[in-house]
């Protein structure tokens, strides 16, 4: 009996702490949202597809992010909550603890469907794991808007719109800016360019990685150089670049993917590449991967002169590294605008309007333009 009471109390305490956790994440976002909402709404203006805000109905949407692991998602949630308040709708934001917790996220999606909301916003960790749940959502008549990452194989009609950075072209943007800076190191024997991707399962990361590889190879080919892609099989197999055998290549693009999405394991993968004598460039395709490259550099001290590195996303560590010249530059997305647009599209879909995909942009930034008016608002800490 005594044991039973105790375990009940413990369970209650556990549940309470979990609930408190959810409440707490919402609070700071709401505080700061008011100050940023103005700037962000302007940002989103070109992508805004809604005509009349507030259709009178108090819709409820379930939003599932990839994780709360990086400030990128916190900025997206900020945009979502600010726009929900502006539109007079309610949202419930959840997300797994890490972007690799694919099964957790599928469970969250299933419970979101059970809550029968007016719409679901989903940033899928894995582009194929959610397919059954998406079918279930369609059967239940709940429109799903994918944001950040799409689900290209989703059952037709289940995903009404995808609001995402064109990740492939954003990855290409990094290559377009990094390649010219590396150009004078080409032509004197084989050189190596490393790419760190935190995983090989989500559409956004895969496309960014491939976008970088394909564009880099395209630019190199235009200058008469041959390229080999080695490392993680997913990227090696999926690249559209014209490749040759490693031994014959002027440029070797080596792709490292860690077993788990931690900065430490990204750093180890990065160090293995950055240690090689012929490495001249690095690309980290998200915040964790870019911080992994910077962590590896703590001991190696090769970035800035011997190796030029490009990152992706922002955060205080990456911003500081760009400012002091350790990182050559980075591509940033606009998570705030993405969050706002997601709510707009969800409202339209709930109103029964026809909606379509909304691509959002990726911007190159470096020490010179990071304080510019059109870049700075996207550089979250």
């Amino acid at each position: 009996m005594k044991k039973k009471v105790l375990s009940t109390l413990l369970t209650a305490a556990l549940a309470a702490s979990l609930l408190a956790g959810c409440g707490e994440t919402a609070a700071p976002a709401a505080d700061t949202a008011s100050s940023d909402a103005g700037a962000a709404t302007e940002e989103a203006a070109p992508a805004d597809t809604s005509s009349d805000a507030g259709s009178g109905e108090a819709y409820h949407f379930e939003i599932i992010v990839k994780s709360y692991q990086s400030s990128y998602w916190q900025a997206a949630v900020k945009g979502i909550e600010a726009e929900a308040e502006a539109k007079g709708v309610t949202v419930n934001c959840t997300g797994p603890n890490a972007e690799s917790d694919i099964a957790d996220q599928v469970n969250m999606l299933n419970s979101a469907i059970n809550n029968a909301p007016d719409g679901i916003g989903l940033a899928a960790c894995d582009q194929s794991a959610c397919l059954d749940a998406l079918q279930a959502a369609m059967d239940a008549g709940i429109p799903v808007v994918c944001f950040d990452s799409g689900c290209p194989d989703a059952p037709a009609g289940s995903v009404v719109s995808t609001v995402a950075t064109d990740n492939y072209s954003a990855g290409a943007t990094a290559a377009e800016n990094l390649y010219p800076a590396l150009k004078d190191k080409l032509g004197n024997g084989q050189v190596r360019v490393g790419e760190i991707n935190q995983e090989a399962t989500s559409e956004s990361i895969i496309n960014r990685g491939l976008g970088f590889i394909d564009k880099f190879a395209e630019l190199a080919k235009a200058d008469g150089y041959t390229v080999a892609v080695i490392g993680n099989e997913k990227y090696v197999n999926d690249t559209k670049a014209e490749t040759v055998a490693e031994a014959d290549a002027d440029i070797v693009i080596e792709v490292g993917v860690p077993a788990q999405t931690t900065v430490e394991l990204c750093a180890t993968e990065a160090a293995a590449i950055m240690n090689k004598a012929d490495t001249i460039g690095m690309f980290g395709s998200n915040q964790v991967a870019a911080e992994g490259i910077l962590t590896a550099n703590e001991n190696l001290s090769v970035l800035g002169d011997k190796i030029l590195a490009a990152g992706f996303d922002a955060g205080s560590v990456i911003k500081a590294a760009i400012k002091d010249g350790t990182l050559f530059g980075a591509v940033t997305q606009s998570p705030l605008a993405m969050g706002i647009t997601t709510i707009d599209v969800l409202c339209d879909a709930a109103d029964g309007k026809s909606v379509s995909d909304v691509p959002t942009d990726g911007y190159w930034y470096n020490a010179d333009n990071m304080d510019a008016d059109d870049i700075a608002p996207n550089l979250y800490d």
Binding site: L6, S17, A98, N275, S316
Partner: protein, 330 residues
């Protein structure tokens, strides 16, 4: 440790038994990677292995105590991140001095350790379950403490960045892994605590035969709690090592760190069924895991192999323990 019970002492047991084998494994692994990859031989690689090992070694030292009592502490991984976020939030957002933030990290660890101890020793929850609960609680608490934001403790060059030089000092153009010196001193101290003090001996007594320990008048409840307090304290120290080595601490991470520490301790000879173990063994065991983690990417193996190989090594270590026990029983 078991040499007295053994009828005939083999050369291996004289040399320290499993610890010796594991030390050989570390040397062989290092030699293998060094031959296979010229880059692995570089000083900076050794520096990185040490950098990324401190927090796991500290966790492993602490978790050795619950393991010896035939328990386990699953809360140390997410706990580490939680303590680092809590201390870091006070430093970065509230302007507390770095030293005070570090103290908060350690005290937080001790508090969660004490909670684990009370749940297990007084309320008699199974250790696996109790620490699984505190694992979830600390994961949530960490996010609450930092308001779900990643925390970047002050950089080495920033004001307050001095604490990063606890583990790595730069003299001239060379970086020195000062942290390894502290690790060796802590291992020596804790090995003494485990083998020559009341708290250590009673921890072993609880693990070998709890009934006998109760009957011989040991305050089992108190010393059982202390095993978890030690584990929590070291998770707190590990959080400082983590904050000092990595630029950003992300809420929601940390799950899985405890398995590397527990795996390391078991590879190093902590009995999977309690009652035996050593601190220096845990140190060596962790280096097996750290070497695999760092070395495999250097020889071009995809990272998923690292987990498979670590799992296989762990099975090997547990088998050695079981075979040893069977021989003793004969």
């Amino acid at each position: 440790m078991n040499s007295k019970e053994l009828g005939k002492k083999s050369i291996l047991t004289k040399l320290g038994g499993q610890k010796f084998i594991v030390l050989l494994v570390v040397i062989v692994l290092f030699a293998f990677f060094a031959v296979a990859s010229p880059d692995f031989r570089k000083y900076t690689t050794v520096l990185s292995i040490l950098d990324y090992s401190y927090y796991i070694v500290l966790m492993a030292i602490g978790v050795t105590f619950p393991l010896i009592t035939a328990g386990v502490d699953l809360s140390i991984g997410t706990g580490l991140i939680c303590y680092s976020l809590a201390g870091g939030y006070l430093v970065v957002q509230c302007g507390w001095p770095v030293g005070l933030g570090m103290l908060v990290s350690v005290l937080f660890g001790i508090a969660i350790g004490a909670l684990n101890g009370v749940l297990i020793s007084i309320m008699e929850l199974p250790p696996f379950l109790a620490t699984l609960c505190t694992c979830m609680i600390t994961r949530g608490l960490g996010s609450i403490c930092s308001k779900s934001f990643g925390i970047s403790w002050p950089a080495a060059s920033a004001p307050g960045g001095w604490f990063r030089s606890i583990f790595k000092v730069t003299l001239g153009n060379t970086k020195y892994p000062l942290g390894f010196l502290w690790i060796l001193l802590i291992v020596a101290a804790m090995a003494f605590v485990l083998n020559h003090t009341r708290i250590g001996r009673y921890t072993i007594a609880i693990g070998s035969n709890k009934e006998a320990a109760v009957l011989s008048g040991i305050n089992v409840k108190f010393y059982h709690i202390m095993a978890y307090v030690i584990s929590g304290f070291f998770a707190g120290l590990a959080s400082i090592a983590y904050s000092a080595v990595f630029a950003t601490v992300q809420p929601g991470t940390g799950a899985g760190f405890e398995l590397e520490a527990i795996g390391g301790a078991i590879i190093g000879g902590v009995s999977a069924t309690g009652g035996a173990g050593s601190i220096e063994g845990a140190l060596i065991g962790v280096f097996v895991i750290c070497l695999l983690k760092t070395g495999l990417p250097f020889v071009g193996l995809q990272a998923n192999w690292q987990q498979i190989i670590t799992g296989l090594v762990l099975i090997g270590a547990v088998l050695v323990d079981i075979i040893k026990k069977r021989r003793e029983a004969k």
